[in-house]
């Protein structure tokens, strides 16, 4: 087992090692690629080996420690790594998808001046993400949590000369930071009441300290952790940073803002699922948030015209599904959907990246069209990605989404089920719309380059995963047992399967009448605008929070408190001016006043003596 422990500690260290080497050396582009891709690929190999080991022996929990971190009184925190089936799934996704995206990036970024910087950030990100999912205590998890946030910030603003990219990066960092701060308070609360930050201990102790009937503090803890999850996973009410985050390079959007970082929130809740079981109310809130967000995201994705924004809203919506699954207590299916989503959304983003690469950074889908002849690989991969997103039967997305819907029924939340099915309909609709507009119809722009070999290779591998990845990892089921769903009615069983086809036909009908991108009545126009802005949350936050804060700060730019001291200064100046009138600089007048004073004093003294 110790050998395995060493392997485990290598997993998060290899990428950061490669980042450090890149930072302090100046290799050629080829060597940068070899080092960066190589480190992640070796991590992927290690994790597939661990999968193999896991496949052989079922109760497989691996621990490793990279040393002691903080140890004061009762607070004892180490750099401990903990691998069970949940984190194994996560590291497999991260390293697998990560390696493919690294490979893809060597082609996508080959023209960029800051090639090395890009891979430093990307390696650092993978390392932080691995720390996040492998951490055995919440503080180390928080380190990874903030680390991925930082790398996300750096990569969104990667092309730093454009002001908008930086603003988007700032927005992403600050909005997730709000969630992170809630989570930090959650950590304080957990530590104060349970006396530990070790994740496994928390799960056990929580059930001894709190119970279902006495769960106020447990609920508050869960709510605060949920705050962190909501921020990272772009759920309502902190969802609107994600569409702007598309300002970064497209592979970054694929890795960070689709496959891995945004799923950290789901991981956090799944990891602490036993703690969350103590707070059914919070679970219900999670389900509600998930449902609301999936509808919000899907409806906003329906009307976007920017290719990447469509995918971003779609990510928000799919993350909503995972939250819904978590909320109804089906963590395993949430993680399953996380996995399939990582495959097909990474595929979609990478194909989108290939499109953008070939079309001179054109993002507007209405300027594309008829591309299927010119870019066959991209078309096929996009088609596979879209069908998995729309959960057409036998794609990977189909199995996971069906499972979630089934579990929702099993939990008894029928209203939420209807909402989720509506979401599935819209999802299929916008996927079809996206595909039709970009690849069919009349050719407009013609691509001048084709994707490089490394890009195509990554796309093909991801295609395979998206098609065939619909196998739920067995370990998840034993770790987080799913709900039993044997009471499905026929409608509940068949509707989600048929619905995507209806949605696609509907989209085809509208597309044939070439009605996309047009609105007729002013009412539709208004709704269109509202949906396009993501239900205007940016505007609302701007008016409610940002403007007042800015106004308040501006009001006090010159420091009110300093005014008090300036007042004292003024008073002393006035007094000084008054009294300095006597100070005329004439020595003789000073002397005279001295003498006069002495004489008077003397006279007064003597007169006093005489009277006595």
């Amino acid at each position: 087992m110790t050998n395995y422990s060493n392997l485990l500690s290598l997993i998060p260290l290899l990428p950061i090692l490669s980042a450090v080497i890149l930072l302090f050396s100046n290799p050629s582009r080829l060597w940068v690629s070899i080092l960066a891709v190589g480190s992640i690929t070796s991590v992927a190999l290690i994790s597939s080996f661990l999968n193999y080991v896991y496949w052989q022996q079922t109760d497989f929990i691996l621990k490793a420690s990279l040393g002691n971190w903080i140890s004061i009184a009762e607070l004892s925190i180490s750099f401990g790594l903990y691998l069970d089936s949940l984190s194994l799934v996560m590291i497999t996704i991260i390293s697998g998808v990560g390696a493919l995206i690294h490979l893809y990036s060597t082609g996508f970024m080959s023209q960029d001046k800051s090639f090395k910087r890009y891979f430093i950030y990307l390696n650092l990100f993978v390392s932080a993400m691995l720390f996040l999912v492998l951490a055995d205590n919440l503080l180390l998890l928080y380190l990874g949590w903030e680390g991925v946030g930082l790398c996300s910030y750096l990569l969104i603003g990667f092309w730093y000369q454009d002001k908008n990219n930086n603003l988007a990066a700032n927005k992403a960092f600050l909005m997730t930071r709000i969630g992170d701060t809630a989570m930090a308070i959650g950590l304080f609360l957990l530590f104060t009441h349970l006396g530990t930050l070790d994740i496994q201990e928390i799960q056990v102790k929580a059930h001894t300290v709190w119970s279902l009937s006495d769960n106020t503090i447990a609920s508050i803890c869960c709510l605060l952790l949920l705050g962190g999850a909501v921020g990272k996973s772009a759920q309502f009410p902190l969802q609107n940073w994600l569409p702007d985050a598309m300002a970064g390079p497209t592979p970054v959007s694929a890795l960070i803002h689709a496959a891995t970082m945004v799923t950290a929130g789901i991981y956090l809740i799944a990891r602490n699922s036993q703690l969350f079981q103590l707070a059914p109310d919070v679970l219900y809130v999670i389900a509600l948030i998930g449902t609301f967000t999936l509808l919000l995201g899907a409806s906003a994705a329906m009307v976007q015209s920017d290719l990447k924004r469509i995918l971003a809203y779609s990510t928000i919506s799919q993350l909503g599904y995972m939250f819904l699954a978590l909320g109804v207590g089906a963590s395993a299916s949430a993680v399953f959907h996380l996995m399939t989503h990582a495959f097909f959304k990474a595929l979609l983003f990478l194909s989108a990246g290939a499109l953008i690469y070939s079309l001179h950074h054109e993002h507007n889908i209405f300027k594309m069209g008829g591309l299927f002849k010119k870019l066959p690989v991209v078309t096929v991969s996009f088609a596979i990605g879209c069908s998995a997103l729309a959960s057409l039967p036998f794609t990977s997305g189909f199995f996971s989404k069906e499972l979630i819907l089934e579990q929702v029924v099993a939990s008894g939340h029928i209203t939420l089920w209807w909402a989720a099915v509506l979401g599935a309909f819209i999802t299929a609709f916008y996927s079809a719309r996206l595909f039709f507009i970009v690849f069919l119809g009349q050719a407009q722009l013609s691509p001048d380059t084709t994707p490089t070999k490394s890009m195509s290779l990554a796309l093909i591998i991801l295609c395979l995963f998206s098609l065939l990845g619909g196998v739920q990892p067995s370990g998840l089921i034993s770790l987080m047992p799913p709900l039993h769903a044997d009471n499905l009615t026929n409608l509940q069983h068949w509707l989600p399967i048929i619905l995507p086809f209806i949605a696609i036909s509907f989209a085809w009908w509208i597309f044939k009448k070439s009605q996309f991108g047009r609105t007729h009545t002013s009412l539709l126009q208004g709704i269109h605008q509202l949906l396009k802005s993501g239900w205007a949350f940016d505007h609302i936050y701007q008016t409610i929070f940002i403007q007042p804060f800015k106004y308040l700060c501006q009001l006090n730019q010159y420091d009110v408190i300093d005014l008090f001291y300036r007042f004292i200064e003024k008073v002393s100046c006035i007094l000084n001016n008054t009294f300095s009138q006597f100070q005329n600089g004439q020595l003789r007048s000073y002397n005279a006043s001295l003498v006069i004073f002495c004489i008077l004093a003397f006279a007064w003294f003597i007169s006093g003596e005489l009277i006595k």
Binding site: S71, I72, L139, Q161, F173, L174, T181, F191, N556
Partner: protein
């Protein structure tokens, strides 16, 4: 004798540097460099103790304890002593003195001799403050560090230097006066109650005074330390002084002068007046929290880069105040850590601002921008320290803030929640700083090739980076150094706080 030698080296070195200017204008900085290096010599045996003899650390409170009679009629002694806390702060002081020297190396061109004299004497004063155990001696050093700093600001400062220097001097001098009064009060009342006239910290701690007086005396001490920290209503000298001071003085101010306030609270106020500090604690926590939020909000609207960093100091030092008065071992450890980490990250930011000003001749955020294009190394450092100041895990500042917040959360949950919002606000101003300075397009089209970091600057900055990473990833040696005895006091007070 080693502690006296430690103090004498910068004092003599300063005088030597002043006189050497007659021979060569470059001589003073060399002499300063040599004397700063020599200051490490008396500490070498200590490093040995730390590394190989951990037991002696825990055995006695003081690692070195030296005492001589000074003014025997009042029983005032030249009593210097060193424990883990003062050791940490002395190491910080000496490191930051080297940083300040590196900042001044090319910046200071006029009256170099007098400049380095003042620099070394400030250092000596600070070292004395961290070492003096006799309260009177402490007060003397407290004043010694002010006057040279006044000259540093008022002679080599920027456009509004006289105003800033005088403001700095009056504020700190008023604080010092208050301290002198409380000190005399403490000694006088102690004499009345026990019949022993002493200024000695250890003796005063063994027989604490009783009655109503301790509260007021503790308040006096606390306020004089708050001025230095600086905490909220007394902070307004800091932005002016920091902004107008030359880079070297800003570095020293931020890195060590502010720390004397926190040190004073931990060393004197908490152990000497445990009950009074418990009474004071809620107000102090409140002041700390308001300082955190207020400082961050002020930093957000500044257009002068140095002012922004200065206000961020106010915000960060609010955490120190929070940690000191939370009466909790985590918070106290966090406060010490915050002093170290803030000392490094903020002075690094001042150092960077100094470099930027040296190259672009402006500190105005609206005129800067796009530095990354021409100066990638400098900007990468700027990014690193900006990120450090917003409390990124893995760096020292995070450990500090986390411990402080965990510790104070047990005592004052509501206040701590507000303090935690400081983390968001820290992100707001840090990102603003990074965004306005390093990112974006170059605002003023300059064809002149501006040099990136030179070797000396690069070495200085990378060292500070590594120290911050070390503090963030392996803080345990620091925690072990902070004296156990002191912690006991915190615990005693804490249990009393429960019973009160």
């Amino acid at each position: 004798m080693s502690l006296f030698i430690l103090l004498l080296i910068p004092l003599l070195g300063g005088v030597l540097a002043w006189f050497s200017q007659r021979f060569d204008a470059n001589l003073p900085k060399r002499i300063t460099f040599i004397s700063l290096l020599m200051c490490w010599l008396p500490l070498i045996p200590l490093f040995h103790t730390m590394l190989f003899d951990g037991a002696s650390l825990k055995k006695s409170q003081w690692l070195i304890n030296e005492s001589f009679n000074w003014i025997s009629i009042f029983n005032i002694k030249a009593h210097l002593a060193l424990d883990g806390l003062s050791f940490l702060l002395i190491v910080l002081t000496l490191l930051m003195a080297l940083v300040a020297l590196s900042a001044a190396w090319h910046e200071i061109k006029q009256r170099t001799g007098f400049f380095y004299f003042n620099l070394l004497w400030t250092i000596a004063g600070v070292l004395g403050v961290f070492l003096a155990i006799d309260l009177f001696l402490f007060f003397v050093f407290w004043e010694v560090m002010l006057v040279p700093m006044y000259f540093l600001i008022s002679i080599w400062g920027h456009e509004n230097k006289h105003y800033a220097a005088i403001k700095f001097f009056i504020f700190t001098q008023a604080g010092g006066l208050l301290m002198l009064l409380s000190l005399c009060g403490l000694v006088g009342i102690h004499y009345q109650q026990t019949g022993v006239l002493t200024f000695d910290y250890i003796l005063l701690m063994q027989n604490p005074i009783t009655g109503d007086f301790p509260f007021w005396i503790a308040l006096g001490f606390t306020i004089s330390f708050l001025v230095k920290l600086p905490a909220l209503p007394f902070h307004s000298w800091l932005p002016d002084a920091h902004t107008q001071a030359p880079t070297a003085a800003s570095v020293i101010l931020a890195a060590v002068l502010l720390k004397t306030g926190g040190y004073g609270i931990i060393r004197f106020v908490l152990p000497l007046f445990p009950e009074a500090s418990i009474q004071l604690a809620p107000f102090m926590m409140l002041i700390g929290v308001i300082g955190i939020i207020y400082g961050a909000m002020m930093a957000f609207v500044q257009t002068d880069l140095k002012r922004l960093v200065a206000y961020s100091s106010v915000s960060h030092m609010g955490f120190v105040l929070l940690g000191c008065f939370a009466f909790n071992i985590y918070a106290l450890q966090g406060a010490v850590m915050q002093m170290l980490a803030h000392g490094i990250s903020t002075s690094a930011l001042f150092f960077l601002v100094g470099m930027i000003q040296h190259r672009y001749h402006t500190r105005d955020l609206n005129k800067l921008g796009g530095l990354w294009i021409n100066l990638p190394k400098l900007s990468a450092f700027g990014l690193f320290f900006g990120i450090a100041s917003l409390g990124m895990p893995g760096l020292g500042n995070f450990i500090a803030e986390f411990l402080i917040l965990v510790g104070s959360f047990e005592q004052y949950p509501i206040i701590t929640v507000f303090a935690t919002s400081g983390l968001i606000l820290a992100a707001v101003y840090s990102l603003l700083l990074i965004y306005k300075t390093f990112f974006g397009k170059v605002n003023s089209p300059q064809n002149i090739k501006i040099p990136d970091t030179n070797t000396k600057e690069w070495f200085t900055l990378i060292t500070m980076c590594f120290i911050l990473i070390y503090l963030g990833l392996h803080p345990q040696p620091i925690f072990d150094l902070v004296p156990i005895k002191l912690m006991n006091i915190a615990f005693v007070s804490f249990s009393m706080g429960v019973s009160l």
